[in-house]
Symmetry: C2
Subunit: 491 residues, 2 copies
């Protein structure tokens, strides 16, 4: 264990992750099975993710709306594949009242308040939304509908991990309706690009864009597009999905529109979502044994100023300077915290902000004030330098940009170094059992082969990449003209 109370990544990556999430005050388990509490610091990062995505959704013409939390049980059954995918792990509301127990020890469910039809807490909202779109859509003039919802959903998970897999999680789900197949596919692809753009340029997490194999598709989709990221332990993490739903939900809920000639057609659909799972990707891509490492664009505090002083006079001089600097930085839209808490020693503060992943730390003491310098420490590469106070705001702005870029470059290098092409199952296992990573191999497109490879390697097809499609011999059967796909063990 390091001095900061968390295990090293090299010793136990999974424990490192859990301890880091707790120590950095991001989230914790609640007493309610599989449900987490997102603490203020963790939520502040999620808010930054949410706010930026919301801007990008609106720039691409979407509006937010809100649909009910509870879905009648019968809705789920209307789309055959959908119910198969979601009925197994849902929270069911059966009653609407409690009453005092007869022995006075507490409250019990009132058997008289049983619902005629059970309600399901939404695991995803396609069914209730398409039931609504039926009322909203009559003519081609009502299309497209470009709606997004920020919401909580519940999927009953037996094995849960903070942010990565929880019974309740927060997410956004876009649900769009279109007159033509082409338009719906363009929307699906556009939203995949929005996700990739956000994850790469704000989270500094490189991704591979692709489509899922049939086995891995969303329940009810014709095609599931996805972005896949690679964590430091060599495991893949699906960071976002965008589904082309064809006319499946329109047919299940009988949603048609009259075209210009008055002819009725079923509507084409997409849905797309990202969730608090992104927090897991963010943490596992950049962080180190000292704690969290945050990209500047998503860091609630971008710069912390820590005063080093022996008496109040010294603190006063440093405080004056810090106030001035803070004001200048605020004008550049940089968020700064001046930590003048007298109960904590500078060393304690240094460790604390390292744990919390604050990108830049400025330490200022009496000697610095004399020399008109500060000590600047970068969280990402842990380098320190003494720099002049003159022109500091500009340097800090540039350094934040540089950190953002370098985090992405470093993660991209890691992804490239850990993407390896193989020709055999043995080779695949050798890689997966050692350093892991993305394994490129050819696959004959057959679901049975896919399952066999999974049984042999514990790896799933993460995606069929959109770029760089090639053909070759299937890694399992040797069949020629098989397509290149990416395998990995995954979160």
């Amino acid at each position: 264990m390091s001095s900061n109370g968390i295990v090293k990544r090299s010793e136990d990556f999974s424990r490192w992750y859990n301890e880091l999430v707790l120590k950095a005050d991001l989230a914790e388990h609640s007493d309610v099975r599989g449900c987490m509490i997102i603490k203020p610091y963790g939520y502040a990062i999620w808010e930054k993710i949410k706010d930026q995505l919301d801007v990008m959704f609106k720039e691409t013409g979407h509006q937010n709306a809100y649909f009910p939390l509870l879905i009648p049980k019968s809705y789920l059954s209307k789309e055959a594949a959908h119910v198969e995918g979601f009925a197994k792990e849902c929270a069911v509301v059966t009653h609407y009242r409690l009453k005092n127990s007869e022995d006075g020890s507490g409250v019990v469910v009132d058997p008289a308040a049983k619902l005629e039809e059970e309600l399901i807490i939404r695991p995803t909202s396609e069914t209730i939304i398409w039931n609504t779109y039926k009322k909203w859509i009559q003519s081609y003039r009502d299309l497209p509908i470009l709606v997004n919802q920020w919401a909580n959903v519940v999927r009953w998970e037996m094995r849960t991990r903070l942010f990565l897999r929880t019974s309740e999680f927060l997410w956004q789900e876009g649900h769009t309706a279109h007159a033509t197949k082409l338009e719906a596919i363009e929307e699906t692809e556009q939203m995949l690009d929005v996700y990739a753009n956000f994850v790469e340029n704000f989270m500094a997490v490189p991704v591979i864009k692709g489509v899922k194999s049939e086995n891995e598709r969303f329940a009810g989709a014709e095609e599931t597009y996805c972005i896949e990221a690679l964590m430091q332990d060599g495991k893949a993490l699906q960071a976002g999905t965008s589904h082309f739903l064809g006319q499946n939900f329109a047919k299940a809920f009988d949603v048609t529109y009259a075209d210009k000639e008055g002819k009725k057609n079923h509507v084409w659909a997409t849905s797309w979502g990202v969730s608090t799972r992104l927090m897991g990707a963010l943490i596992m891509t950049h962080s180190d044994d000292k704690g969290l490492v945050l990209p500047p664009k998503l860091s609630p505090i971008q710069i912390v100023i820590v005063p080093i002083y022996k008496n109040e006079d010294q603190l006063n001089i440093i405080s004056d300077y810090a106030s001035k600097l803070k004001k200048e930085l605020s004008e550049l839209n940089i968020s700064v915290k001046f930590d003048n808490d007298d109960n904590k020693k500078p060393g304690w503060k240094f460790a604390e902000y390292e744990m919390k992943g604050v990108p830049l730390r400025i330490a200022v003491g009496p000697r610095d004030m004399e020399n008109k310098t500060v000590e600047l420490a970068r969280r990402d590469n842990l380098t320190k330098s003494t720099v002049a106070q003159e022109g500091l705001p500009k340097l800090l702005l540039e350094t934040l940009d540089k950190i953002q870029e370098e985090l992405f470059s470093k993660a991209s290098l890691f992804l490239n170094e850990n993407t390896i092409q193989v020709d055999s199952i043995d080779q695949m296992n050798q890689i997966l059992n050692t350093k892991g990573g993305f394994v490129e191999a050819f696959w004959n497109g057959d679901s049975i082969s896919e399952q066999k490879i999974k049984d042999l390697t514990k790896a799933t097809i993460r995606c069929i990449p959109l770029e760089g499609s090639e053909n070759g011999n299937c890694v399992l059967t040797g069949e020629p003209n098989s397509k290149k796909v990416i395998f990995a063990r995954a979160y």
Copy 2:
């Protein structure tokens, strides 16, 4: 019925409200009992409410966090008054899986997946949050905790009305923990002021600040502060509440802190919330028989530009001007829509934006372009004027400010004119049975008298006003030295 398809307020206020909410595309009922769908236009207004409140919460030192949707049944029982208030109307999760029915007709609840302890969908989060605070608080150094949560809650309502009373609604709930009683009371009062400031200065809805009688207090509170607004039909609407919870939840969940001397004390608590109910207050305060009237500060579209043209050449000239104007207004942070939809006639558009409450409408035709003028129409007072294009952005900015102020003045005048002091139950009934309003009367402070007055008048004590406290003879019993309170029939 007016030509716009909604009944007049004077004919049936309640129906007018429902029809307006539907026609203005704000919300609609879902198939799920008591749950509403908030449509994009309604949600855009709610987002403005939410964003502004969030800024105000952060300015007063609060941070957002997120706690689980589901609460173990036993938590509710821990605070005696709380369970009495909330057990009667809650959604109960009893199972966590569905399975295919044996006859293949759909899915049924899997009896094998019964929860050991039922979970309640949060009707409010005091219990789960105080169960968590127990872990967060050890010493006075951990205090205060100033946390807010934006969330959905469910209270099973038998009679529901869009925005005003729905089984699921959206809200924020602040939950703070303090070392001293005084600090907790100051927080309670501060948040009441934040609410009053927001509702008056952004929603343009005047309110009376006060405290609730014991009967009307939040279940588990020592004191409930509230803001009360008066709707156009003379009924009161509680727009926000801020509760001083004393040490009730700290005692129920055994939350103590060690003070500087190491002595253990129970923690002091507050909670405060506003909900999508505010949308109802907004609608019923300002709107008229033509539709919604929105205060500029909360209007998703502040100005709409409608071109009047006979051919494409005319439209092109107007479009050029509109683009330029739109750009200038965007720089002033004014949100503008240029509606050049060729499928709709100007008259249709005028009615549509009146229905949607857009504060200012600009109509521009070829004659206007020649004269370098536009026609400007105010939604609030329905006045029209021809104004010069020269200097228009500044005029528009000033006019928006003026509308915001005048809406508040008009509503304040209404509130004052409809606040009437009475000396007898007969007088009270006479007023309540005719034009309604706030009725000021003296009350002896006794719960039995309060109930009797309610039985006789159908009015409840809305609040004991913080300002202008006077004493007099009780309106029911004639007892002297009774305190002045406000009665009304209420939503």
